[in-house]
Structures are given as structure tokens and as C-alpha cells.
């Protein structure tokens, strides 16, 4: 079960790593193979990696920052597996076998994509409709060749060769026709006999990217990407701006402060009324129902007071601060000219 999940993970990952070259992709897949081999529990590792798509996004970012080595380091970092504590690497022969498997996965995915792109063009190519002149020197003409050679093709054998040898013999065209009529069964047998379900449903459309990263990451990246240019002041515009907008800004700030002060006054009046009502309830009342009603009025006054107080603070922070920031931004836009660093 775990083996199947690992294979599926690698297959999906190979599909997504389109930004890498073939060699780099195989290196990444081999690195993940090592990680899977070194992991004490592969289910936990799969849980830590979350999904091939997420791993692809992380690898893409690491690759764009520091190339392949950064991506490989990020792979180990994502998995959380200590490769130094892993058992010694396999023998060169076994390693070459592993490399063949990953190369087979990569090429299988590419072929799957190609076959999805042009589904009907290839089957007609190997066999022509007109009778092919028979060459007497063909090595396989003496013995009858079975018409269905493509059924149990092992991984090691190249799958295209049996189909190509069929038209060379002296067989009528009608008997050779079934061979190209079903080229697809040859393909999955060559791709991965362990897991045909992962390869046979060709997915032409890559799933939509779902961002799970916090926004700060992109903000940091955006900040890094923005070049810091130099600004040069335009004196005439600056003087004009100061003469015009400093008085206007001061007037605007004064008006906003007046509105904020009025709101604060209302809040203070409401809170004061509440305090007044509470003191009245416990000083001059004799009937319990009247006391309850007065306390109710006091609570309503407190609620209004708290609301108006926060409204006044919010108004002052947002409006006055926004006005000042807007004036400064406008001044920077009008009075300063960006000069390229070079």
C-alpha cells in the first residue's frame, strides 16, 4: 500500500516538475526516492509532504532562488527526514536500476502528455493502407509471427520494436491491421506495470493551483523584487505644494479633529449619564422596580458611550492619519521624480 502511494507520489511529482530539464527532474525524483527509502514511516512522510502539488510549488520557489541544489535541499527540508542517518546508499548497479525507474517514470509522463495531445494521428502511421512490397531479406519472414505481440511486454524491453517488426514480414495487410488498431495497450505496459491506474488516465489539464501559503511570503517577495530607485526633488513643484497643501492639510486636520472631538464629547456625555443614573439608582430610589429601570438606562448609556468613544478613536486614527498619508503620498508623486539607479 505504501509502495503504491510512493509510486503515485513520484509519478504525480514528475508530471508537475515541468520547469526542470529532464536531468534535473530525474535528480529530484532520485532525491525523493532516497528520502522515501530513508524515511522510517512512509505514511508519515507522505503526510508531511502533503501533496505533490505543494511540493512542486515549494521546489519551484527554491529553484528560482538558488537553482537545482536549492531545490534538492528544500526537498530534504520539506520531508524532515535526516538523510545522514539513513542506511548507506545502494550499490551502483542498484542505483542504476533506480535511475532507470525514475527515467522510465519521466519518459512515461512525457509520452502520456504527447499521446493526449495527438490521440489519433500516431496509430495510422506504422501501417500504410497500400500493400507494402515484401523484402525477401527480412529475417523474420520464415517463421509466422504472432499477431498480438504487445500483450505481456516487460519493463526492460522496448515496447515499440515488436510493433515495428510486424509490417516487414509477408503478412497480408488485413492481418496486420489489428496491431496498430490498439496501440494504447502497449503504452501502459511499457510505462509502469506496477501501477497502470496512475498512468492510464491521462490528465491533460493540470489541477488548479491552490495557494495555502500566508500572504507575507508574497509580500516579502514583492518587496525584494521592487528595485529601490533614487528620487530627485523638483524644487518649484515642492514649493508650490508646500504653499498650497500645508494650509489645506492643516484646515482639513482641524475639521477632522473637531468632528472627532464632538464624537468624544457625545461619548463622554453618554458615559457620564450612565454614571449619573447609577448614582441616582443607589441614592434616591426606594422602589426596587425603579432601581432596576434606572440601572437599565445606565447600561444603555454605557453601551452608547463605549460605541461612540471607539467610533471617535477610529475616526481620528483612520481619517486624520489617512489625510496626512494622502498628502505625503501626493507630495511624493508630484514633487519627486524617480531616477534610475544606473
Amino acid at each position: 500500500m505504501t509502495f503504491i502511494n510512493k509510486q503515485r507520489f513520484l509519478t504525480e511529482l514528475s508530471k508537475f516538475l515541468t520547469f526542470l530539464s529532464d536531468d534535473e527532474r530525474q535528480q529530484v525524483l532520485m532525491k525523493f526516492g532516497e528520502i522515501f527509502d530513508a524515511a522510517p514511516n512512509q505514511d508519515e512522510l507522505l503526510g508531511a509532504l502533503v501533496s505533490p502539488l505543494k511540493v512542486t510549488v515549494e521546489l519551484s520557489r527554491a529553484y528560482s532562488r538558488g537553482g537545482l541544489q536549492q531545490a534538492l535541499d528544500r526537498s530534504v527540508e520539506l520531508s524532515g527526514v535526516d538523510l545522514s542517518a539513513a542506511p548507506p546508499p545502494p550499490s551502483p548497479a542498484a542505483e542504476s536500476v533506480g535511475a532507470d525507474i525514475y527515467a522510465a517514470i519521466g519518459s512515461a509522463v512525457e509520452e502520456a502528455f504527447e499521446s493526449a495531445a495527438e490521440p489519433a494521428a500516431e496509430p495510422a502511421a506504422p501501417v500504410s493502407a497500400e500493400p507494402v512490397p515484401v523484402e525477401p531479406a527480412a529475417p523474420v519472414s520464415a517463421e509466422p509471427v504472432p499477431v498480438e505481440p504487445a500483450e505481456p511486454v516487460p519493463v526492460e524491453s522496448v515496447p515499440v520494436e515488436p510493433a515495428a517488426s510486424v509490417p516487414a514480414e509477408s503478412v497480408p495487410v488485413e492481418t496486420a491491421a489489428p496491431v496498430p488498431a490498439e496501440p494504447i495497450p502497449v503504452e501502459p505496459a511499457a510505462l509502469s506495470p506496477v501501477e497502470p491506474a496512475a498512468l492510464s488516465p491521462v490528465e491533460p489539464a493540470v489541477p488548479e493551483f491552490e495557494d495555502t501559503e500566508p500572504e507575507e511570503f508574497f509580500d516579502e517577495a514583492a518587496d525584494e523584487a521592487v528595485p529601490q530607485g533614487e528620487y530627485r526633488a523638483k524644487p518649484a513643484a515642492l514649493i508650490f505644494f508646500i504653499l498650497l497643501f500645508v494650509p489645506l492639510g492643516l484646515v482639513g486636520i482641524a475639521v477632522l479633529l473637531c468632528v472627532g472631538a464632538a464624537l468624544i464629547a457625545v461619548a463622554a456625555a453618554a458615559i457620564g449619564s450612565g454614571v449619573f443614573a447609577v448614582s441616582l439608582a443607589f441614592s434616591g430610589m426606594a422602589v426596587f422596580a425603579d432601581i432596576i429601570m434606572t440601572i437599565g438606562v445606565a447600561l444603555v448609556c454605557f453601551a452608547a458611550g463605549v460605541l461612540f468613544l471607539w467610533l471617535a478613536l477610529w475616526f481620528l486614527i483612520r481619517c486624520v492619519g489617512g489625510l496626512v498619508r494622502g498628502i505625503l503620498h501626493l507630495g511624493k508623486k508630484w514633487c519627486y521624480k524617480e531616477v534610475s539607479a544606473g
Binding site: V287, M293, F302, A303, A304, W310
Partner: protein, 61 residues
């Protein structure tokens, strides 16, 4: 900022609801607004404060 708005709104809504409940309970149990106003005017010199407010408004407008 949004969190503060939420907290302030919850506090204000809670106080408003509790005050409304108190007023309704007081009215149900026999409370009287006239009696409260009489007690207010008897304990505090409300007319004096009203005159001050009227003068302040008159000076403004």
C-alpha cells in the same frame, strides 16, 4: 482594527441587551418613569444644568 470593532460591538451589544432587559423587567414589576423623574429632580438640581446648557448653545449660535 477589525478585532477591536468586534470586541467593542460585542460589549456594546451586551450592555444594550442587558439594559433593555432591565428596563422591561422594571416596567413589568411595577416601575414608573414619573417616579424616577421626580426622584431625579428631587435629588439633583437638574434645572440649573439645563440653564447652563441653554446658555452654552445660545452663545454658539
Amino acid at each position: 482594527m477589525k478585532t477591536i470593532w468586534r470586541v467593542v460591538g460585542l460589549i456594546a451589544l451586551g450592555a444594550l441587551t442587558l439594559g433593555a432587559v432591565c428596563i422591561v423587567v422594571g416596567l413589568i414589576t411595577g416601575g414608573s418613569i414619573d417616579r424616577i423623574i421626580d426622584a431625579l429632580f428631587a435629588n439633583y438640581d437638574v434645572d440649573y444644568y439645563l440653564k447652563i446648557c441653554q446658555q452654552f448653545v445660545g452663545t454658539l449660535f
